[in-house]
Symmetry: C2
Subunit: 204 residues, 2 copies
């Protein structure tokens, strides 16, 4: 058993070091943007030699990808649970967005990265990427909630895609826009969403 135990510890340590590197990388991306982040600086910030980064990751791009993948995957896991609830579409929809707000307020740098980094890639690059799978699942669930919600009269009768875009933009604006990084409260979000979606069924 000794062999396995040691191997486990080693692989755990390896993962922990990868995590350290990712944290450093995130800090640098946040400050310098995607292209502005230099490998040397990531190495310095995370406290490893430059070559060591390449011992754990095969390229700069892989570091990006790992950050995005981890982030979107864990975000999806949090939201998946909520989506499985059996409340009305509108309630579920709002709960999910409120959950995202809660998470953002927990670790703003991470979520700013998750929501803004993708714009730095070309659409083709994005299609191929692992993390996109989880983002797509999230979008799909939200779209379905909107469609069901419309049928049940809980959402305004408009093109679902249009509502999706409007809600996405509204949400993004409230949570991420503005230089004053004051966190938004769940109540504020709820109020805004409520007025956009109309009062129908809101106090159900």
């Amino acid at each position: 058993m000794t062999k396995t135990a040691t191997a486990n510890r080693k692989s755990a340590e390896r993962a922990a070091r990868q995590e350290l590197i990712l944290q450093g990388a995130l800090a640098v991306f946040r400050e310098k943007g995607l292209e502005g982040a230099k490998i040397d600086e990531i190495a310095r910030v995370s406290g490893f030699g430059k070559a060591t980064l390449y011992y754990y990751f095969s390229s700069k791009e892989e570091i990006f990808s790992a950050l995005l993948l981890n982030g979107w995957r864990s975000l999806w896991r949090e939201l998946e649970e909520i989506a499985r609830g059996d409340d009305s579409p509108r309630t579920l929809f709002i709960s999910m967005l409120k959950k995202i707000v809660e998470l953002v307020n927990t670790d703003r740098p991470l979520y700013e990265f998750l929501f803004q980094a993708p714009q730095s890639f070309t659409p083709e690059e994005n299609e191929r990427s692992e993390w996109k799978v989880y983002q797509n699942r999230l979008y799909k669930v939200l779209m379905e909630l909107i469609e069901q919600g419309i049928q049940e009269g809980e959402f305004p009768e408009m093109e679902p895609r249009l509502i999706m875009r409007a809600m996405g933009g509204l949400f993004h604006g409230l949570v991420f826009l503005g230089k004053d990084r004051k966190s938004i409260t769940e109540n504020e979000i709820e109020e805004m969403l409520g007025s956009l979606l109309g009062k129908a069924g809101q106090t159900k």
Copy 2:
């Protein structure tokens, strides 16, 4: 008089060539993103040698800046007129956004660039830039309309900055999000804004 006439023509031609270069640059930015756009490619697309670009512009960054400055300045001029009208704050506010939609539908690549390129710079870089002046004027006018609108009961009673963010996000979502580049209509915008702002005073 010959001298002046010739000089005029020359400077007009010079401006026209600059314009050609800017058009090429915009096309490349649109496709490749800001960092992905190479000077060599801009030169190729706009039909000049690389060195010629540097005969008209002193750096790659100056090309960016010129695009942004031209764009935001002309956008501001269009909107300034509207802002001077003497309708109610809410009507003015909505007219301005509808005007932007109209312009976007005229030249989508340009406006996508205008609204998205700034994110590629660090905040400090943005502060120093010429074009930011016009963007700030626009934001200021919109904020004032919101503040007045609240006093006159045409807008919901919330923090103006919050309303601004919400409207900005909503607008951006509707106009620019989504891969299907189908243009949005002014009516759709009006409907969305209307429901977010509430019915109060809408049918004034």
